[in-house]
Symmetry: C2
Subunit: 417 residues, 2 copies
């Protein structure tokens, strides 16, 4: 069973706005065993809309439209579909009353134009939209299904979940899509690919997408199957073999963020953490605290951009900064140890580096970052050389620092961080 | 002159990956006076590709494809276009030598399959791609132009800039798109719309898109015109009238980020800033330092999540926290004043609040945030009640704190922050 998704709206043809509904919808359809074979984005010109819908009807089994159900003359999804399928539009009194009621609830009178939203093609099923005025519509014709949904994401999702999923589920094929999400940090994409590629021929029915982001690499092995137990077994096996191939670089087999993993590890170890950051400017603290409940393990942090603050707030000796430079192993060690002592945390993390674009020298180039991590046995340190622009360097540095915390607990015997 | 953009690649039909090339391409085409009337996303199935390209050829003047120029059997853009336009594919020796040379440079031998990337439809112009192996292709037939570009963004942009823009410019219509980008913070989208809507009928030739993001609202007035001076005059006028309608909430008429605006204001005033954050967890420091050269005005910050650190690092009296609570006007004032004194900054900013999801009470609900700002005359404070989830509350709080710094310098007479 194949689907096409048509996003309707002139604003989606500007440089400013992206269609995001179709990603969510694709995920939901795939879970039901329906493959998306084409996506289209059209404005509100009647000819373009007609041509897109007619094209979709010629090749997909189910056509989803998102948008174009509003009250103005530009909202022509209903008219276009009705015309193409040879159905008349009629006013649905119940929908009309619902829209009027909705306006009354907000103490307003319904403008006349909103009556358009109560027009329904003959034979269509109305899909209630408790979050907005325009209901969704489900229309079957000559073996095809057209599902018209509003473009507002919360309305689209609400209608899909309450009205569409169960209807599709009854007619969808037995074969469904099953997936896993593995996450890796500290390896380049090409190295991840080299490590997992030998597994592909062993699992010819699974397909794996590798996505590289600044905060790590995601692997999505997936399999279409009519047998849930079989799919789960195959995915468990491939995930476990990928885990062996990726080793300590794998931080989640369940699609968690690194922040979530670190939060779990700190909580399980009843440990607390404090950070002293220079070039990351607060990004490490921000990431450690974007997890709900982080006050259980995060005590606080110091963003010591100036050398004076490295000394006054964290106790890094001014002579050390003078002799070794603010960006040095020694200062990273002193930051990690100092912030740990001043806050009483189990673990202290120190970061100092050159995010650029200025400030680099031949000995200490842009991208050089020292990360220190201290516990009751003292501090350790490691230097990294990240490439890219300021933003990228700061993200890599905070990512690597988070990973140092994970490694500190999981691999205490290996060289740290 | 109308264009259609076709993004090619099965991964773009998964829930995981979004086509982003088309947004950039749309912006560039609009500047040249070319409107995008349709966008399509197709996988690599030959039938689907043929149907999408043939559909596009039936209605657009210029068809851009992104992707499907790789070396494998799945990369069928060349074949599809050649077949539809009735052109033979021939091997281009110069391209082949270039690809071989590229592999040699990376000390590798060219795999045989890469020779496919040297296949060129008869009559096509080859568009050099110094950043990758697959060149772009430009093909004219029966009044239509087909431009085939690789899907890798950096390669696509490079080829467009070096080879495509000038070619299109010679044939594009005289009418071009001119735009402005205004940015607003501190007003809800509906209020922004209410304020600027009365201007729309006065400028019937311009169209304005309003985009709401967590970090503020963007207004994009735009006009298609063959007369650059006229367009500039109209946009200057509408931007200036929008500015009057939006007042102190407007922070940029040039599309700058609030961070950039604050950086400029601090630099112009030769002022320095230091921050003491609780609920934002480092996000304010992170945003102040994501601007290159921020060490000129940002001294440092303290993320004092625990009450002990509010006292030990910033000098907030423990009795004050005990009597008023960590989330209170008094503690926000003490944080702002304390961090200013301890760092010697011109301006100190203090933030304390409840980001949730836990920790709220009827008197101090989730979303309550106090923001203090201190200068040599002492600290002032204001309380806000933000709605939404943890992430949203933290972003709104850091956004409002940044805006307090802007307002501190621009509107010293009005109530602060």
């Amino acid at each position: 069973m194949n689907a096409e998704i048509i996003a309707v709206g002139s604003e989606l043809l500007t440089p400013f706005r992206q269609d995001t509904n179709s990603l969510w919808l694709t995920g939901e359809l795939n879970k039901l065993g329906i493959r998306v074979i084409h996506k289209a984005i059209v404005g509100d010109a009647p000819d373009e809309m007609r041509s897109s819908f007619s094209h979709a009807l010629s090749r997909a089994d189910v056509i989803f439209s998102c948008g174009g159900l509003g009250p103005t003359d530009d909202d022509r999804t209903r008219e276009t579909v009705a015309e193409l399928l040879g159905r008349k539009l009629r006013m649905d009194d119940e929908i009309l009353r619902g829209i009027q009621e909705r306006f009354r609830r907000f103490a307003r009178t319904m403008p006349d134009i909103n009556a358009r939203q109560a027009m329904v093609p003959e034979g269509a099923t109305v899909l209630a939209n408790p979050r907005g005025t325009a209901p969704g519509l489900w229309l079957e014709s000559k073996g095809k299904i057209v599902v018209m949904l509003p473009g507002v994401p919360v309305e689209l999702k609400g209608i899909f979940e309450a009205e569409v999923r169960a209807r599709l589920s009854r007619i969808a094929p037995a074969e469904r899509l099953y997936t896993r999400e593995l996450r890796v940090t500290g390896l380049p994409e090409s190295e991840v690919e080299t490590r997992v590629r030998p597994l592909y021929p062993l699992y010819p029915d699974t397909e794996t997408t590798i996505l590289a982001a600044l905060t790590g690499i995601q692997l999505h092995p997936r399999i279409w199957s009519a047998d849930a137990a079989h799919a789960t077994r195959v995915l468990d096996e491939i995930a476990s073999r990928m885990g062996l191939a990726l080793g300590e670089y794998l931080y989640s087999t369940r699609g968690e963020t690194l922040e979530d993993v670190v939060a779990r590890i700190l909580t399980e170890n009843r440990a607390t953490v404090a950070v002293a950051e220079s070039c990351t400017g607060g990004m490490l603290a921000e990431r450690l605290t974007n997890v709900a409940g982080s006050s259980a393990y995060f005590l606080g942090g110091v963003v010591c951009y100036s050398n004076e603050l490295k000394t006054s707030l964290v106790g890094v000796p001014a002579e050390l900064i003078e002799s070794k430079g603010a960006v040095s192993s020694e200062v990273a060690l002193a930051l990690a140890d100092g912030v740990r002592r001043r806050t009483g945390a189990t673990i202290g993390v120190g970061i100092t580096g050159i995010a650029g674009p200025g400030g680099g020298t031949p000995e200490k180039p842009v991208g050089l970052v020292h990360i220190g991590i201290a516990d009751e046995r003292g501090p350790r340190e490691r230097a990294f050389r990240f490439t890219g622009d300021r933003d990228r360097i700061r993200i890599f540095a905070s990512q690597t620092a988070l990973d140092s915390i994970r490694r500190h607990f999981l691999f205490p015997a290996t060289p740290r961080p």
